[in-house]
Amino acid sequence: MSAKALGPVRRKFAPWNDSSAVPLIQIRDVSKAFGSFTAVNSVSLDIYEREFFALLGPSGCGKTTLMRMLAGFETPSAGSISIAGEDLAGIPPHKRPVNMMFQSYALFPHMSVEKNIAFGLEMDRLPKGEIAARVEEMLKLVKLEEFAKRKPHQLSGGQRQRVALARSIAKRPKVLLLDEPLGALDKKLREETQFELLDLQMALGMTFVIVTHDQDEAMTMADRIAVMNHGQFVQISPPAELYEQPVSKYVADFIGDINLLEGRVTKNERGHIVLGSEVTGGRIEASGETVAGLGDKAWFAVRPEKVSIDLQPPNDPTVNTASGTVWDIGYVGDISVYHVKLDNGGTMRASIANTRRVVERPISWEDKVFLTWAPDSGIVLTK
């Protein structure tokens, strides 16, 4: 792939912290039940103009149902949804100011690429010349000019994905909904397309709401991510915050890889927490705040890349440490992950970047090792 021009630099963008900002989409206490099954359970959410918002969760968590309620394909059982101040209740899908890009692309198989793109514009009864110009512009945007006359089945998967995208943005909706837009692409194409989508969203200045089960996709593209589980939001945060300050074990475990060390709070004062933990055979020092009181159960969550691994015990006896034996080594290319069986039971993982092309590893299977981590490398979780 040749080097291509990078899109505009992503600006500092955080209207959700600005109390005077007016949200574009307001979801208020929305629930959706199918029979006795509650797919979405009383959720509220504000999404701001020009935001790239991701709904992330495992399949069946209610994220697709929530998106379909935005598009108008499902009616909320309770609660309200409004866009730009207009309540959407009772407004059928074909009259909503949102467009959707479907997971299956849902291209009209009997229409050519340009007819597919023109469809929404024809529905708006735009003049012919304007439709032609807009279709031209869209084809150029997704680099499909030469494929205008082709039928969907004459295109590759990546090309179809771009037609679906062009078709859904042709009407310049206020909000574009994307349902697993990259799900059907292979890994390499998916990564490229992620950045194309980002550039496009910046250039068009549209609000994107994306549904995905792929955490990398959400982390790469979104301004904010809502992690959903069992029909509710677990956490709504920008990617870095989600990774570094998860609110629960569920989020910590769902986003990336994490070690969860169980213990009981023995000290909690002014940003300094100490956990008594059998896992490490002693105490875990942590910095930060927690709502847990003395004696409560809590977990210290630390990412594998923030754990150091060494053959020698640490010089400083006060530092957090756990000893064990190397159980398995996972070589992932850019990093190696060491699975360590702790002497006091349980396992921990530590990862090390493979910065050199070494053949010989200094630490090998069944080596006795010492794991150490800094007090501010992790976070104390109570649930």
Partner: protein
């Protein structure tokens, strides 16, 4: 790649011989110069000539065609509506009764359907004849249409319809601009099925007809009861020929489309 075993080849050969031999013999003997069904008396096309001279047969054929086209067309519309109701409208009051009514005629013995429709027409005091046959044929063929179209609709990616709605198309227009063009092949084959079922029907038409409306199967039946006649061989061969040609053309056309489509898909798969 699977390979056919000897057993597979033998069972296919015997099976297709069983299916086709009687029809082939029928066609061959329609060219028999003699009157006998077993003794070959040389080639002749004279029985075909007498078919075209028989006003009764021609009238019956014409009525059958009219009934077929008319009833198949109405049945296609009603059956497609029923299929949409069943496949798209989710749960509605009386859905169970509706689907039972749509599916039951598929296996209902024709004598029962025929009798019950006749008794309805008598109760309504309707003059029996052409129109009562048409009404009866619409009723029993629309069920076949509904089944064919419904199975196409249930294999249809519903998000295609949703995409049209999403782009601002009304539900009504979505049917005509998106759904119908895509399911059209199924609708056409449903029409053909309804048409041939109507052409084929003897029992229901016999019950519901009145004076002056004799369909071709009724005419053939009354002739056959009197014994095998070479003219019947000839007219049957003509019907077989018409159906065969129509089906072969239809399948060659769809096959051609499929080949084109497959080639295009293979091309697309290699594209960047």
């Amino acid at each position: 790649m699977k390979r056919l075993s000897l057993f597979n080849v033998v069972s296919l050969t015997l099976g297709f011989t069983f299916l086709y031999l009687p029809i082939v013999l029928l066609v061959i003997y329609s060219f028999n110069a003699g009157r006998s069904v077993a003794v070959w008396g040389g080639w002749s096309t004279k029985w075909y000539g007498s078919v075209f001279e028989s006003q009764q047969l021609l009238d019956a054929a014409w009525i059958t065609l009219e009934v077929g086209v008319l009833s198949a067309s109405v049945a296609t519309i009603l059956g497609t509506m029923a299929a949409i109701a069943l496949a798209r409208h989710g749960r509605f009051h009386g859905r169970t009764l509706f689907s039972a009514m749509v599916y039951a005629p598929l296996v209902m013995p024709e004598v029962i359907t025929g009798l019950s429709l006749l008794l309805l027409f008598v109760a309504l005091n309707m003059d029996r004849g052409f129109w009562t046959i048409v009404l009866s044929h619409i009723t029993f063929t629309m069920c076949f249409v509904a089944v064919v179209v419904q199975s196409r609709l249930s294999s249809f990616d519903r998000s295609i319809e949703e995409a049209a709605l999403d782009l601002g198309c009304t539900p009504f227009m979505t049917f005509f601009r998106i759904t119908l063009p895509i399911i059209l092949p199924a609708v056409i084959s449903a029409w053909m099925l309804a048409f041939t079922l109507s052409l084929d029907d003897l029992v229901i038409a016999s019950f519901t007809t009145g004076p002056g409306a004799t369909t071709l199967p009724m005419k053939i039946y009354s002739d056959v009861r009197l014994g095998v006649k070479p003219e019947i061989n000839a007219i049957c061969s003509l019907m077989v020929a018409v159906v065969t040609i129509a089906v072969v053309i239809a399948s060659v056309l769809t096959k051609h489309q499929e080949v084109e489509r497959e080639r295009a898909e293979r091309l697309a798969a290699n594209a960047p």
